[in-house]
């Protein structure tokens, strides 16, 4: 009985220190929103794994379960986004339970203005990823089990307010992604999965080292973000931690020179998995930079900012040159998907409130753009029955819908006005110019070069003269139009109305505006930095 009482005591939630009222006080009364977002996909994965499936009879049911699970997560995230407190930078929807008291580890979850848009992005990409996986016919159950595990781990990383919890979910998502690539990818799937595992292991061990160094340096009391962020560390230690964080983030975002997995994975994985990784999995690298480096290590972040900015500029330049040389359509998509990460990293190194606002917005808009370009290239490659650019040519008349989606994807990556990525890039570049003028110049040059590369590529693949020896091509199906169109719609929505639609210029309608959600938190984070910190 004593044990039962003890277990009951430790599993009962402690009162939330958040000033914000419980989730959806007028809609749904429960305090476990974030746990629901994390554990629902994991639970559903376990259910799928245990359901009988004689001779693949229920494969379609597994697809539907995965879809509705992600759709319900999207609904919950929409409500959370809608109910987010715009006037507070404190953690909202907090949950706090003791987990490993001997080490000061807590199951501490919470989200702020930086996290909520990324959660929304993650759940949207989750739905898109399932829709893009409707063509999976082999080992359907296993595929969706792994996909749901990835979704759960992504949400876990975003919601974690304890470094151990973050490391756990960060590492927990690597193996399912590698298995998804190894089990269902293209001809080079094993090498792609192996590379992803290797880079993932490097990132995880760097992050583990960050956790242990921070823990030991702050007295070995707690892994809680709020506690670690207030530790008084000397500059040398902060720089060591900053380097480790950049290494961990660069393996995921990815940034040159730790980008080796991205080309293979985006080119070999199924469209659903490639979109999931490009859309939200890779954005976690940028989130890590903000959450651990910018929030917690002011001096370390300022000292390492020029280095990070250089990596960002190098990543965009590398992508532009690689696209110019690319002869493989899916690799084109893979290189293009590197660009949003580079821009976001520049914003993070900008060390101003505007740059951080732009970087966070870029994580969201860039996630949509990266998923779109990766998804569009994968779909075109499937529909054109080849990835070889030399064989393609004049695809636009044969697949007009996909061609326009492909063009729009390129525009989104470049940040053409009208797209959310335009506003994000503009804020990033203007905000970063004060502290990182050289990197801003080089990155802008890279974007210009990228535009040229895209133009050449489009001319060759879409609008050139058709090749007589090219295999037959067909246009996008209704399902493909749905999930790619959804991404385009979101890019337009936040591109045209980043502050949300207003009635009579003041009354907020159903979307209170993504920039408004991010703004308070980014301003609060940067308030700890002196102007011109770097």
């Amino acid at each position: 009985m004593n044990h039962l009482l003890y277990l009951l005591a430790v599993t009962t939630p402690s009162p939330s220190p958040s000033p914000v009222s419980p989730f959806g006080p007028t809609i749904i009364h429960f305090n476990f929103l974030l746990s629901t977002l994390i554990w629902t996909p994991v639970l559903m994965a376990a259910v799928l794994a245990l359901l009988p499936n004689p001779r693949g009879r229920y494969d379609r049911t597994f697809f539907q379960i995965a879809f509705w699970t992600n759709a319900s997560l999207l609904f919950l995230c929409l409500v959370a986004y809608n109910q987010a407190n715009l006037f507070s930078s404190a953690a909202q929807y907090e949950e706090n339970l003791p987990w490993l008291p001997a080490l000061g580890i807590q199951y501490h979850l919470g989200v702020d203005g930086i996290t909520i848009p990324l959660l929304l992005l993650g759940s949207l990409i989750g739905v898109v990823s399932v829709l893009a996986s409707s063509a999976i016919r082999e080992r359907v159950r296993e595929y969706f089990v792994l996909l749901l595990l990835v979704v759960g781990s992504v949400n876990g990383v975003l919601c974690a307010r304890d470094l151990f919890v973050l490391v756990l979910f960060w590492a927990g998502g690597i193996l399912p992604i590698a298995l998804l690539v190894a089990g269902w990818g293209g001809p080079g799937r094993r090498a792609a999965a192996g590379r992803f595992l290797a880079y993932g292991a490097v990132g995880t061990f760097a992050l583990l080292a960050v956790a242990l160094v921070l823990y030991a340096a702050t007295g070995g009391i707690s892994f809680d973000f709020d506690f670690l962020a207030h530790g008084l560390l000397n500059n040398r230690l902060q720089v060591v931690i900053a380097i480790l964080v950049v290494v961990a983030a660069a393996t995921r975002l990815p940034l040159v020179p730790l980008h080796g997995w991205a080309r293979d994975l985006y080119a070999e994985a199924t469209p659903g998995v490639a979109m999931l990784v490009a859309g939200i999995g890779a954005r976690l690298g940028g989130y890590l930079l903000i959450r651990i480096l910018v929030v917690g290590q002011h001096n370390g972040a300022s000292l390492i900012a020029p280095f990070l900015a250089a990596l960002a500029a190098a990543t965009v330049l590398y992508a532009a040159f690689a696209i110019l040389r690319s002869r493989d359509l899916r690799r084109f998509g893979a290189y293009a998907a590197l660009v949003p990460g580079g821009v976001a990293a520049l914003g993070i190194s900008g060390m101003t409130s505007l740059a951080l606002l732009g970087a966070t917005f870029q994580l969201v808009a860039g996630g949509l753009a990266a998923a779109l370009v990766v998804g569009a290239t994968a779909t075109i490659a499937e529909r054109a029955q080849t990835r070889d650019v030399e064989v393609m040519g004049g695809l636009a008349p044969r697949m007009p819908k996909l061609s326009w989606l492909f063009v729009l994807a390129g525009f989104a990556v470049l940040g053409v006005p009208g797209f959310a990525s335009f506003i994000a890039e503009a804020m990033t570049l203007f905000g970063s110019f004060h502290n990182q003028p050289g990197a801003v110049f080089v990155l802008s040059l890279g974007l210009g070069l990228l535009a040229v590369a895209f133009a050449f590529f489009y001319q060759r693949v879409l609008f050139g003269s058709p090749r007589p020896d090219s295999p037959g091509a067909s246009d996008a199906s209704l399902g493909e139009m749905w999930y790619l169109g959804l991404l385009v719609a979101m890019l337009f929505w936040w591109g045209v109305l980043p502050g949300g639609p207003k009635l009579g210029g003041s009354v907020t309608l159903f979307d209170q505006g993504i920039v408004n959600v991010i703004n308070n938190s980014s301003a609060d984070i940067m308030s700890g930095y002196s102007p011109g910190a770097s």
């Binding site: 277990l7 003791p98 001997a102 590698a178 190894a182």
Partner: protein, 441 residues
């Protein structure tokens, strides 16, 4: 009277189960129902575990101080009983035979005796009972391997006895409580050597787990931690040796795992890696470090016990194991990944707990070695698991003939390895209290 009985009930139930299984072929009601012995053993073990988790929370001594029930005993017995229960569920007893089941239960009984022992004689007796019973269980199936295990186990047992006798002579008593107060610096060379002899013998017993059986290793781990608690004042004797030994174990495990080998080899290498982490937890001789090691020890015992059973006979190697039995493949994978320290399984939580304590103690180099070795072993494990799930055996291989109970046991083990980390709050807290109970500060 009732309280006393409830304290001894787990041991009594395990002993009854062991006797029933050993003599089942001669008992007419059980002679024609081979599964009945397994069912009886499983039920009695489940009841024993339940009684231990409820009545075991009390702190008492019995038999004029010869038997103690403290937090360490509670943790150690719960881990041993849970592991034995999963082993009973997962093993193919129809092939191994009922005497092997009885001897396995006897090995568990030996571990329970060690967990509650208050002097060196009790510790040693429990350990030897566990080792000999494990060797006996092995002899039923593989006599040659059992002879080797007997030779190794017997030699290590003799060395441990010799070292314990020397330490007892130096302390003037074989009682652990007396040793805690009477042993202390200055540390002479003979005493240091005696302590190291005991450590070396017990670590050898632990490392022999793949050959000697997991329950013998469990008993050796229990004796090791109780001995470390009693001789904590002499931590200087092993303060240098233990980190070096832990690092060596990790490096050897990494090299061995990369080199590859037979299907069962990877279990041994991954287990050795985790043993390295457990030993690293002892490095500081402090309560939190040893508590972390004890927490990891529970995960190690469960994974190392079930992995060989889930793998079973592997005449075709690992290729296509999932086609033969998905449950066994899942159980085997969970055990291997846990031993390698891959998140979010039990081994990761344990290794992280240990590494946090090492970082707190400034042993960053050992953490780095551990991380590196864990990464290498993880890759080797994933390389083998690729065969399990993605490779074809190359010919038509019959599906596994294991019973449904064995499948269920493998799945239960996988679930426990996942749940262990997520229930870390009570388990780790109990492990730290257990470390305090054996006298560590």
């Amino acid at each position: 009277m009732l309280t006393t009985a409830s304290l001894l009930l787990p041991e009594a139930l395990v002993a009854v189960a062991a006797v029933v299984c050993l003599f089942a072929p001669r008992l007419s009601p059980l002679r024609r129902q081979p599964w009945a012995s397994v069912a009886i053993a499983g039920v009695l073990l489940a009841v024993a575990l339940g009684v231990e988790l409820t009545a075991g929370a009390q702190l008492r001594t019995l038999f004029q101080g010869g038997f103690t029930q403290d937090r360490f005993a509670l943790f150690a017995k719960a881990v041993l009983l849970a592991t034995t229960l999963v082993v009973v569920l997962a093993a193919p007893w129809a092939e191994l035979g009922r005497p092997a089941l009885g001897l396995t239960l006897l090995a568990c009984f030996g571990g329970l005796v060690s967990a509650s022992a208050t002097d060196l004689a009790g510790l040693w007796a429990g350990l030897e009972l566990a080792v000999l019973a494990s060797v006996g269980a092995l002899a039923v199936r593989e006599p040659a391997a059992a002879r080797r295990a007997l030779l190794i186990g017997g030699s290590l047992g003799a060395l441990a006895a010799l070292g314990m006798a020397l330490v007892a002579a130096a302390a003037g008593s074989s009682e652990l409580a007396v040793m805690r107060t009477s042993l202390g610096p200055p540390l002479g060379l003979p005493l240091a050597l005696a302590v190291l002899l005991v450590f070396a013998a017990l670590l050898g017993q632990l490392a022999a787990a793949p050959a000697g059986g997991p329950l013998a290793a469990g008993a050796a781990g229990i004796v090791l931690i109780k001995f470390a608690g009693a001789a904590a004042a002499l931590a200087g004797a092993w303060a240098v040796l233990i980190p070096a030994l832990a690092a060596a174990a990790m490096v050897v495990a990494a090299l061995g795992a990369v080199a590859g080998g037979p299907a069962r080899g990877i279990i041994g290498w991954a287990g050795l890696l985790q043993l390295g982490w457990i030993v690293a937890g002892l490095a500081g001789g402090a309560r939190l470090g040893v508590g972390a090691g004890l927490f990891l020890f529970g995960a190690y015992l469960l994974a190392s016990a079930v992995a060989p059973l889930a793998l079973g006979e592997a005449p075709h190697g690992l290729a296509g194991l999932s086609d033969r039995s998905l449950a066994r493949a899942l159980g085997f994978s969970a055990c291997l990944l846990s031993l390698a320290g891959v998140p979010p399984l039990a081994g990761f939580f344990g290794a992280f707990t240990v590494s946090a304590q090492l970082a707190r103690g400034g042993l960053f180099w050992l953490v780095a070695v551990g991380f590196f070795a864990s990464a290498v072993v993880s890759f080797a494990v994933l390389r083998d698991l690729r065969l399990v799930f993605l490779a074809s055996p190359g010919e038509q291989v019959p599906r596994s003939s294991h019973g449904r109970v064995a499948y269920g046991g493998a799945l239960v083990a996988a679930a426990l390895l996942v749940a262990y980390g997520f229930l870390a709050n009570p388990i780790s807290g109990l492990a730290v209290q257990g470390a305090a109970a054996v006298g560590l500060r």
